[in-house]
Point group: C2
Chain length 404, copies 2
């Protein structure tokens, strides 16, 4: 399926972790709520109540995807909102019990920035190191806990390196000590099976546009009985925990996307894994290119690398000229022109981290697209290396990082 | 135009302050961004850059509606988010300069709740009283300022009583003392002309679904040079001031809605005012019914009343059985089953505040609808009063509030 409009040139969208196209069935489900069903869910007359009912149905669909009760789902406008809400809302709710928060160094910016906000407000934050694959060690979590620890937040999988963290093991550590545990599952929800009861977390963030749902819709799962202070204050929407007139079409779309994700998950995983493994195998044949993250225990639709002697942005541009769309890291950091903290945390030197590139796949991608990509990518790397001052230095004998 | 689906019965949607139907042109403008133009605006390849361009065009459209520079517009997911962001973000940004915040008693819940959050965080909040029309007195603002005052937030117009506040005069008071001034203009933006330079405010909140734009899109105007701490922390979206993947379709829709609102404003105001005045004139003929808010200086599409001896909810239900949709106050409070703080603040006794009802109009409404309503409403009131225990008490001679 060619999902990108254009000039007839082949287009390969390999950037599903940046955002997904909307599933056509999802859009169809949303459409009435852009037209005649525009009521405010808080209004007591019929059209309002129909909107309310649609939201509650979506809540059931999202809850069902992660094996939760509907009342535990709070709709937000994005994964970043869910993450900011979770970290600040948990910490403030428990500030009388302690002031220590634990996160990892491979968290998304929305967690890291919220953590820095908390530090400025008097909380103490531990940023846990990870190993060369990006794994957080549950033992290290245990060791970093103090009497003051109130909150632990560890990402389920980083969209930069794809590694899936041992959340279940970390949640056991948290549970045993009565510490509230959150996971940022924006990259995983809808893409791999998630059962919050099995995972054992108290809070979990998700974003609809990561599983063929609309932008502008996210959710935070909050286990029954766990207190959280609202981020967006005001009315009684979302049980008084998130104010603002509900984005009914987006919520309805998120519900439908969750339903489709649940029923089609194994088929999606199989499709993406096959293409992912083909990409990894093909790309690793290019000299001086290294996989980032773990080989096996990673997102099924995610392949990430660092390429020596060249910069990610140059690769992205050359690839996009061939109609291949990919990313040099998380979309939220790609323009910040800084080295990714996630790559530095797994031991990639600053210079090499500049050569980061991420390919992420979806149902629209085909083997033919991957074949085309695997033809073009080595040529692009060769051309860029020919122009690279770093490469010339290497030929001249200077010391280079060659991966580990 | 009959905008509510149904059974063939006449439907009059008189609840535009709860939410607006989407303008068909707005939806048309949004549609490509639900389909082929799904790129993430942070991605550097073409489809991402087209999404970015669309957002920047929307920013220009929204800025133009309020005579601001595009760079001063921060998109949010709702008016409530803009309000929470404004009040908390300003106060935290200036906490080293003082700890005193001034709001009024006719603020929206999103401001009042944010103020209470700030109180719990150590700030001191003054809740300014208003007169019987709901006006905040600029002199009272001046008198309540202390050396510690860092922020003033006064609503532009309450959607419960419609009174338009003297924001320009209050902003002068704030400016003279170097205090940051915010106004919640959710009910006014797109409905009456707004020029932020003339108003003189530093921050201003708005919501697209109040002017025929989509739900899920709001914005905060932040004057150049005014510091604000992010509410949703994370990536570099919105100049680093509001993280999260942009809700591109909703933002594009808000831009188009702003453009249409600007060009059609005088026609819209004229249309709504005519119907509003007809409603006010007709309803005030019913005995023991009182207008709330100011008669002349009010939202052009807004008529609000308190009806003695009966409850708002009963009126809403009886009206909705006749296909007439209205509200008993702000949608965000209508289900809280509490007396509205706004009505109490203008001196309406608790019992009478229960008889609150608000009719708000839009371009779809017609004179025929108003005629139909004015036929039905007195009958409904009569029927309800016949059943009312309060009414019987009155006949029996007990003391009743009869308005002022």
């Amino acid at each position: 399926m060619n999902i990108i409009p254009g000039d007839g040139m082949r287009k390969c969208y390999f950037d599903y972790v940046a955002t997904n196209p909307l599933h056509p069935e999802v859009l169809n489900t949303m459409m009435p709520y852009f037209k005649e069903e525009f009521g405010n869910p808080l209004s007591i007359y019929e059209p309002g109540q129909r909107a309310k009912k649609a939201i509650e149905e979506a809540r059931e669909q999202v809850a069902s995807m992660i094996n939760a009760r509907p009342s535990t789902i709070i709709f937000t406008s994005s994964g970043a909102e869910a993450n900011s809400f979770a970290l600040k809302g948990m910490a403030i709710a428990k500030q009388n019990q302690g002031n220590h928060v634990i996160v990892s160094r491979v968290e998304h910016h929305s967690i890291l920035s919220s953590a820095r906000f908390l530090e400025k407000s008097g909380f103490v934050v531990t940023y846990l190191p990870v190993d060369k694959y990006g794994f957080v060690d549950p033992e290290a979590v245990k060791d970093s806990i103090t009497k003051e620890t109130i909150v632990i937040s560890i990402i389920h999988a980083s969209s930069e390196i794809g590694t899936i963290e041992p959340i279940k093991e970390i949640a056991i550590v948290a549970q045993e000590r009565n510490i509230t545990m959150h996971t940022d599952a924006v990259a995983t929800t809808g893409n791999i099976p998630i059962d919050v009861k099995d995972l054992g977390v108290d809070l979990l963030s998700m974003a609809a546009h990561q599983f063929y749902g609309p932008k502008g819709a996210g959710a935070l799962y909050v286990k029954r009985g766990v207190r959280i202070v609202p981020l967006i204050c005001g009315g009684i929407q979302e049980g008084g925990r998130r104010a603002g007139t509900e984005n009914v079409p987006a919520i309805v779309g998120m519900g439908k996307a969750a339903e489709i994700a649940k029923s089609g998950m194994s088929r999606r995983i199989e499709h993406c894994k096959k293409l992912r493994d083909k990409i990894i195998e093909g790309v690793l044949k290019i000299p001086n290119v290294h996989l980032t993250g773990h080989h096996g225990n990673r997102l099924p639709h995610h392949a990430s690398f660092v390429v020596e002697f060249i910069e990610g942005e140059a690769m992205l541009l050359m690839l996009s000229m061939k109609g291949i769309y990919s990313a040099s890291g998380s979309a939220c950091t790609s323009k910040a022109l800084k080295s990714s903290p996630v790559l530095l945390s797994i031991g990639i030197p600053t210079a090499l981290a500049q050569g980061s590139i991420v390919f992420s796949l979806g149902m629209s991608n085909t083997e033919e697209e991957v074949d085309y990509f695997l033809e073009e990518f080595p040529r692009i790397i060769n051309r860029l290396r020919e122009m690279s001052p770093f490469m010339k230095k290497k030929e001249g004998g200077s010391k280079c990082y060659t991966g580990g």
